[in-house]
Every structure is written in C-alpha cells, then in structure tokens.
Symmetry: C2
Subunit: 274 residues, 2 copies
C-alpha cells in the first residue's frame, strides 16, 4: 500500500453516491482508476466523467493495484456484491452505507474492511458540496481508521469516527428526520390540494419551523394544538381526517407523542400558525 | 370609515404576532393608534416600539375612531376577548387566527367581521420579513374583503382570499408540516443524544431533504427503508425502539403510511441516507 495522501481508488457502483463521490475524490487528487458496475451504461457514464477511470465489467480487481475500494451500491445489494469482489491481500475495502455493519465486509477475502459513509442524500442532477457533508468512518484497527480519515478529510470538513452501533442509531435518527419528515410534507401537499390551495403556501412557515428546530432542541420550541392540549382542535382535525384513516391514526399518535414528550406543564412558545 | 390607504389600527394582544404585525403596519404608513392587552407590561412594551400608540387597559374602543381592530391573541382566548370588545358601528374587526372561523366574531356588536391571518410562526426575538409571509383574508362581503386585501397587500406580497373551510384545512396541513415535523426532529435529537452523536450531524441531510420536498411532490422523492420495503431494516429499527413504545408505534404507523401512499411498485429515488 502506498503511504502518500493520493490514493488509487476503485469505485463499486455507479449510482447517485458514486456519481458525486468519484469527482470529489478526483478533485482531492486521488486517482479513481476504475468503476465497476453490472450496468454497462452506468459504469461507462461515470468513467467518462473522470480523467483516468476504466469501466470494469468484472469484480476481480487484483491486477489494478488499488489502495482503496469503495462500495457504493444499494443496501440490499451490498452483501451479494461484497462476496464477489476479488482484491489483493491487504487492500482496504469500505462500504458507504449508513445502515450496514462493518462486519458485512468479512466475506471479502484478504481485505481490510472499513466504512466510509457520506451522510447526505444524493441525486445525479443536483450538484453537492462535499466539504459540508459529514463522513463517518469505521474500521477494526486504528491504522485503517486513520487511512479512511485521511481520505475523508481530503474531501470533507466534517469527519467522524463512529462504531457500527452508533451508525445504526444515526441511521434510525435519519429515518425520523428525513424519511418520515418527507412523508409528512407529502401529506401536507395532499391536504393543500384537497382545499385547492397553492402548493407553496406553507413554504415560509416550513422553512422557519425547520430553521428554529435546527437552532434549538425541537421539544423546546414545539407549538400547535397538541402541546397546548387544545382538545377541541385535535378532535376537529381527527374528524376532518376521517376519510383518510391512516392519516387520522398518524395525527392521533403524533399528538399523543408530543404531549408525552413535552409534559402537560411545559411552556411552549406562543405561535400563530399551529 | 376612511377610504384612503392609511388605516387607523387598534391591536388587541401584545404577544408574538402583534409584536411583529404592529411595526409592519407602521412601516406601511398605517397608524397603530392603540394596543389593548390585559397584561400591562406587554401592552406598554409594544406601544413603546410604535410612534403613536397608546397602551389601553380596557376593551372599549368607541372613542378612538379606528378603521380596523386586529385581534392577535391565543386561539383559546379569542372568543372571550371578542365578546368584551366595544367598537363603533361598522368598524372592521378581524382576528389573526389560522384555526378559528370568521363566525366567531359574530359576538362583536356592530362590527364588520374579518380574518387577517399571517401564515408564519413568530418569536419576539427573531425579526421577520413580512413581505414574504402569506396573509389569508376572509370576510362576509366583497367590500370588506377588498379592505382587508388592501391592508394585507401593503405589508405582504402574498395575499390570498380563502374561506373558513379552506383555512381550517390549511391549518390542519400546517400541523402536519410544522408541529409534527418539529416533533420528529425532536425525536431525532433524542436518538442522537442516546448514541452520543453531535446534535448537528444530520443538519445537512435535513436541509437537503426539506429543500427537495419543497421543490417536488414529497411522495415522488420519498426514500428510506419504508419505501424500499426493506423489512429487515424496519424490523431492526422497531427492535431498537423497544424502550420507547410511543416512538416505536410512530415508526410503524409512518412506515405503513409511506408504503400505502406511494404503492409498492413506485420507483423511489436511490439515496444513501435512508
């Protein structure tokens, strides 16, 4: 393995994560030497964006003299893909998943296993600034952690060493913060459409709510009928949601959870919106 | 009633909404002539921010020759406050609540009733740009609507005339978009704390998620284990949430609601976070 800061990297996968990670590595003076993907169009499209990358059709990387193999494939495919890889003894092989453990890479013969998890959601069409994206690294020994940190620090200003257990909890937190929040915003859109109101009407209120929730503990700035224990409004909302039993149940559970989390005597900030 | 654009306004309430609304009206060359609040410190503090406003201790406004009375008090207090007001025949009296109907002001003798609802959450310590805040107006006759629109347009660039029914549905949508979203972000903070992870670790991901959800219909950009029908991850998350039965239930309901809303065959955008 080379000890200098510039690594020879192979990317496994050519989806949204690899699409942004590969140019970021290149810009940080690493060499992305190859892209392996089972989909010819994808591996070729990504390789063509990079100065020295070869699109690879097979997962045997032994002739490529790589320092680092980064696996950026969907979680569900990760184990199957890892099992097929063939690398030289001692090659550092890291996956980029938030939800999968380090131990999943135990099947890659001869490899030193690592995790290199960029904590962001990616779309091919939208540019990202990798400097602001936290990268979470993990490995079994300190030297491997240090190597991953070196690469992570070369593209991001926020690098954290966390265990698989913490990363799993972080992933659970991200499901609440992002997946579930997005769903609530989708329900919001449906409710606005039903009332023939413009889709962007709540945009300033949503932006302000999120900005506040990122500045202080959200439980301390909770507003609305639930925290005010305004049962009249709660019951009226439940009645309005009768045609949508799943949304009605969500409304009730979220209301009770707000009331339980904050306690009946906690003063919530006055507002005009909820 | 004066027909010119500058109105003589009395504000009822000196909380967060009045605190921002009064200077915005003054800046738009209306005259806020008085502030009525039952709390002396509050009415004096707000009156002292305005050039010509008198703090009032009684709800009899008949000697003040006002064009417009704006009631900005908590929803729960609105009906009781409205009943006590005494105004000259024909005075326009509007409340600023998102959840309360126009008809609630029927108890104000001789008044023409209106709604003047600024759709934003306010804190005294945080300045707001009223121009970007949607204002929803309602009244029983077109002339009164036009008067309210004139005032609303003088401080905001987004004025909508909506019925009490639509406004009620909007309020329900805002509960999902803001109150419930805030609660999910609070749960997120608790989960991060449990894992001793930094509170701001998910911030870039949250900001990106919200930005996407505001650009497209959130159901079309839904990501995560629920939409992928990744039952292994879902079951593992439910197991991790066993110590918090309310959060566990929320997780399950939100997951099933995501799956029902989007259908099992809908392609969700690949991501690396959820």
């Amino acid at each position: 393995m080379q000890e200098n800061r510039s690594k020879r990297v192979i990317l496994v996968g050519a989806g949204n994560v690899a699409w942004h990670l590969a140019p970021a590595l290149t810009a940080a003076e690493h060499q992305v030497v190859a892209i392996y993907s089972r989909t010819p169009e994808q591996r070729e499209a990504l390789a063509s964006r990079l100065p020295h990358a070869t699109p690879l059709a097979t997962p045997d990387f032994r002739s490529l003299d790589a320092d680092l193999v980064l696996i950026a494939v969907p979680d569900a495919a990760l184990e199957a893909v890892a099992t097929q890889l063939q690398v030289n003894e001692g090659t550092l092989v890291a996956h980029t998943s938030g939800s999968q453990p380090l131990s999943l890479l135990g099947t890659v013969k001869g490899a030193r296993a690592g995790v290199f998890y960029p904590l962001q959601t990616f779309s091919k069409t939208k540019p990202v600034d990798f400097k602001t994206i936290p990268i979470l690294v993990e490995a079994q020994d300190e030297q491997t952690v240090a190597e991953l940190e070196l690469v992570a620090n070369s593209i991001s200003q926020q690098v954290h060493h966390v265990t698989s257990g913490s990363r799993k909890q972080l992933h659970l937190a991200a499901v609440f913060a992002c997946n579930f929040t997005n769903h609530l915003l989708g329900i919001t859109q449906e409710l606005l459409q039903q009332a023939k109101l413009p889709a962007d009407l709540l945009q300033p209120l949503i932006q302000e709510t999120i900005a506040k929730a990122l500045q202080q503990h959200p439980f301390n700035v909770q507003t609305g009928p639930a925290i005010r224990h305004d049962e009249n409004v709660v019951q009226e909302h439940l009645r309005m949601l009768q045609p949508e039993p799943l949304y009605q149940e969500l409304y009730l559970k979220l209301t009770r959870s707000i009331q339980a989390a904050s306690g009946p005597h906690k003063k919530a900030e006055e507002n005009n919106a909820g």
